[in-house]
Symmetry: C2
Subunit: 601 residues, 2 copies
């Protein structure tokens, strides 16, 4: 670990993926038969090396130099084009994409490691990369064979990049308000006309072509989201002719300056060709089908920022000496020995590992929902659908907060550009906004996920959360799980409470404290997934302890023992010092105060 660089915590990733989620077992599924645990370990190592050696070194420059427009085209920061080439050639864009067109077909629960570590090493670079994966995946899922042949292989390998063109200047969160038009021509292609805003990597110099996946409206289509279609709109057409797409400008932003955020004008000269994906008016449905992957990726930005922050802060606190501590009363002590600093670090560590437990489990749900035993697929899809808005909103809010605390641990130098934390927090801020604001995620959670299929998702969750009910737990874990169960009860009561408020006060009343419910369920879920880790860690710890004479002896210079010990201490902290946030959110939900609706606007 380092206070100024990003190094992957390989031990933690191994623990989460192999020891807790037992990724090896996933190889028993037919779709993953060609993998084994050894290969997974290799992938973890390669992914870590790629993040550390290719992406991390150009992170700071991505921010300082940023992107610029020259002769109507975006120039990316030094080193970005070369890293992009390595990203494509290394197969990192297509880790979890199907093998058919050169993808790697790696299970999500393993691919997520690449995604987290790349993002942690360089948010500005990686946000653009993940859009290419997303766009390629849409073409793979909904394109014709010809379209797949034309686009997938090149996009999977990074020769061509991709974007998602949804937002327009007047239509941000309300995607249904899109007015960009698509008019069918006799030979089957469409002419696109409109302006798209906030297009991540909308133009750049890292690839030979850029393939825009663009939402537009055909003439006389239905109003709102039901009249929207999805088009493939390449920057350069397949015959080599430049398409009629103009880069109007790039945004000047708080962070992710390595990623050009573009305003694009399509069809200024009435010659922008687009190719319909599947059929007209399917746009929203298609987007929805791949939304879980996209939202998990944004959630991972929060986890990634947090994971970089906690290691920077932890290491700084070990290096920096200042005044005496209770451990070193006579002399200058490292600030990590001060109680308030320890509390901050432990909070950062607990939240980060909680988010990782949450999101890696969501990745595992994805695998099980798509490749698991047929009978279980619906269950895992339900769990995934419920987890996704939490990964996205709770993940990015908490990730930002972890970086904030990290700056606090560093003190004055944390505010300077000599340390990476001030960039980390600026880069992260966008994650709570794009891919559906966190407010919209909260509405998705309570307004959609709680209610679809007659509340089936919640029932599935309730069953999943009964995991510990009939298990024999030992020692301190017993008390932790008992305490967590109290909060599980608070969650269930709060959900009931919201329903009653909705019945009494209507839809606006029901939605008013959706964000509190988001935070509440986020804490209960993160802690749940951590407690499952605790069971594993406790077994390993106990085994190690049984062959030595004392705990102190075991902890002395034994890094494995220290890992399990700290893992247990971290989860203990989540239970007793973070979970209480649940009480605040539950009380606010219960109070159901309507003053925001009654105030004069």
């Amino acid at each position: 670990m380092s206070s100024t660089e990003y190094l992957v915590d390989r031990r933690e990733l191994q623990f989460v993926v192999n020891e807790t989620l037992q990724a090896g077992k996933i190889c028993e599924l037919p779709d993953f038969a060609e993998f084994d645990e050894e290969m997974f370990t290799m992938i973890i190592n390669e992914a870590s090396t790629f993040a550390e050696q290719v992406l991390a070194p150009i992170n700071q420059n991505g921010d300082r130099q940023g992107c610029r427009v020259e002769n109507g085209a975006v120039v990316t920061p030094d080193g970005f084009a070369d890293a992009w080439k390595k990203l494509g050639e290394g197969g990192w864009l297509s880790m979890s994409l199907p093998t058919e067109y050169g993808g790697q077909g790696i299970p999500e629960v393993i691919a997520v490691i690449g995604k987290e570590t790349q993002m942690a090493a360089n948010q500005g670079f990686t946000v653009g990369a993940s859009l290419t994966t997303g766009a390629a995946n849409l073409i793979y899922n909904f394109g014709s064979d010809v379209q797949k042949n034309d686009f997938c292989r090149k996009m999977f390998g990074g020769e061509w990049a991709g974007t998602m063109c949804l937002t327009e200047p007047h239509a941000g969160s309300a995607v249904g308000d899109v007015i960009t038009s698509a008019t069918r021509q006799e030979d089957g292609h469409y002419l696109i006309k409109g302006t798209k805003q906030f297009i991540t990597n909308g133009d750049h110099d890292m690839s030979d072509n850029i393939v825009h996946l663009l939402l537009a409206r055909t003439p006389d289509s239905q109003q709102g989201t039901k009249g929207i279609s999805l088009f493939i709109v390449p920057k350069i057409r397949l015959d080599g002719v430049p398409n009629d797409i103009k880069l109007v400008s790039i945004e000047h932003k708080m962070g992710i300056n390595g990623s050009p955020t573009c305003l694009l004008s399509f069809g200024d000269n009435d010659d922008c060709h687009g190719y319909l994906l599947e059929a007209e008016n399917m746009g929203m449905e298609q987007m929805f089908k791949l939304m879980n992957e996209a939202r998990l990726l944004v959630g991972l930005q929060g986890l990634a920022g947090a994971s970089a922050a906690v290691q920077n802060a932890w290491d700084y606190a070990k290096e920096r000496t200042q005044g005496p501590s209770s451990i070193h009363p006579g002399k200058k002590a490292p600030i990590i020995e001060f109680p308030d600093v320890r509390r901050m670090l432990m909070h950062m560590k607990a939240v980060t590992e909680g988010l990782r437990a949450l999101m890696y489990t969501a990745a595992w749900y994805t695998d099980m929902a798509n490749h698991g035993p047929e009978d279980d697929r619906e269950k895992y899809q339900d769990l995934l659908d419920l987890h996704i808005p939490v990964c996205k909103a709770f993940g990015t809010d908490q990730g930002f907060d972890v970086a904030r605390i990290g700056i606090q641990v560093l003190g004055g130098v944390g505010f300077t550009k000599d340390f990476p934390l001030e960039q980390n927090i600026r880069d992260q801020k966008i994650a709570s906004i794009y891919e559906g604001t966190n407010g919209i995620q909260a509405l998705d959670l309570v307004g959609r996920k709680f209610t679809v299929k007659n509340g089936q998702l919640l029932k599935t969750l309730e069953e999943e959360l009964s995991w510990f009910d009939n298990r024999n737990l030992e020692g301190e874990l017993n008390g932790w799980v008992a305490e967590w169960k109290n909060y599980r009860a608070v969650l269930m009561e709060s959900i009931d409470c919201m329903k009653k408020i909705g019945e009494a006060k209507g839809q606006d009343g029901y939605l008013l404290y959706a964000s509190n419910m988001m935070e509440l369920i986020g804490d209960v879920l993160c802690c749940f997934h951590l407690l499952k880790q605790a069971e594993t860690a406790q077994q390993k710890w106990n085994t190690m302890l049984s062959v030595v004479s004392s705990q102190d002896e075991l902890l002395e210079e034994n890094e494995e023992a220290q890992f399990y010990w700290n893992k247990l201490r971290t989860i203990e902290f989540y239970v007793w010092s973070i979970l209480p946030r649940t009480l605040s959110n539950a009380k606010t939900i219960k109070n159901a105060n309507l003053s925001p609706l009654n105030a004069c606007l």
Copy 2:
């Protein structure tokens, strides 16, 4: 109000100062006999105009252009030198300084308005200005008559600026570790030698001279804080000879880029003259005496950032349309009509007004402690001493959070440099760090303020918080106060609980959750001061209501009525939707989990 500019909310300030704190009554005190309420209103207006017309227009440029070093000296952004001149000439540096050397002698409860509005208009400019006021005040309080004559008038008027030189590269929070040396010469001056880091406005081109107030150690002085002395070290000596002070570099920072943060080297050529303030070894004591003013000023940075953020966000939410709302089901509605946006805005407003109530009351305590009836002065000093760490730490943490929510309200554009919020939050970040990190404020609160004078400060607070116990309250206010009393009880129980933990677990255990206590007491105090405002607002509202036929009629286009109505809704929100945070902090304190102390470092 505006989504892109800062405009002072004059109505709110009038309400807080004149209607609630009854500033007019302060003129009955002999020291303020020359003032009256009309003059206060005039000052509020002039301060507002200065902030809006002089400081706000150069705020963005201060960030974009920033400071640079040319020929070994700092060049400030365009417009800063001119604004500094107006600041000095207008008497804004010396609002609350004594009249003797050209100060204005304005009561703190009025001066605080100038300080808040200047900071809200331009944090980068104002942080430097407030250091000049602080340095001048130190000389006024502890300097000899000759020193006061030499320095005070010029500093009060801004011809000369001031700095505080405390931090050294190896001594940040631990001021006692300072090693800069001061060696007495035969003629009485001292030779200063050492390096000072993070010196706000340590060099610049806005004034004819810069007067450093510098902490140093005389030969053979006692170790730690008891051996530190305070020196006046001017950039240019009184005889016009440049002193031996070298600007080494300026920091590259996340925010407040309009303020040069300097690394200064004193006495490289053994010719840096310093002049002792009062006597040797008094440095820490002198700093402590003026620490309350300094820490309140930093707290005000949080309030100021919050107040700018809430108006930017509120106005944007009224301008921006997006999808249908329950109020406008058929068409595009302003996003302020959506419940989640309303909740965010109300949260921002409630926290901002809570912080203002807290800090303006602290300013009023300052006046009463220094100028009030002799018999009451100790009481007000006690209340002030307890409030100050809360103003500083709770104020800056919450101010940052309000700006964070503001960006969320704006969505994508909030992340761009087209709107002022992304600069606001970057500028604010430093406030939780300097002038004693917020962690140190929490230790000051529980380790010092709770325990000094045998716990007398807490007893005084408890008495003050019994304010509502025998009052006749009407209508909804009755229920709000009753609810707040529950949280008051939680506060008192939590304080007891911490004491017991300290007895059982020692000092580190006692201090571990100090920051939770800070947040807990912050909410209880802010809400207390808001409820006092509620009593006033309710009376005015009821009076207005009594002469019309309905509430709806009253609210129609009557801005005064809307003000009181919204003030009441805001306080209602604090009681039912923010105060519950108290439960989380109380439970965490009670759990007293020691895992951060038990983890391996």
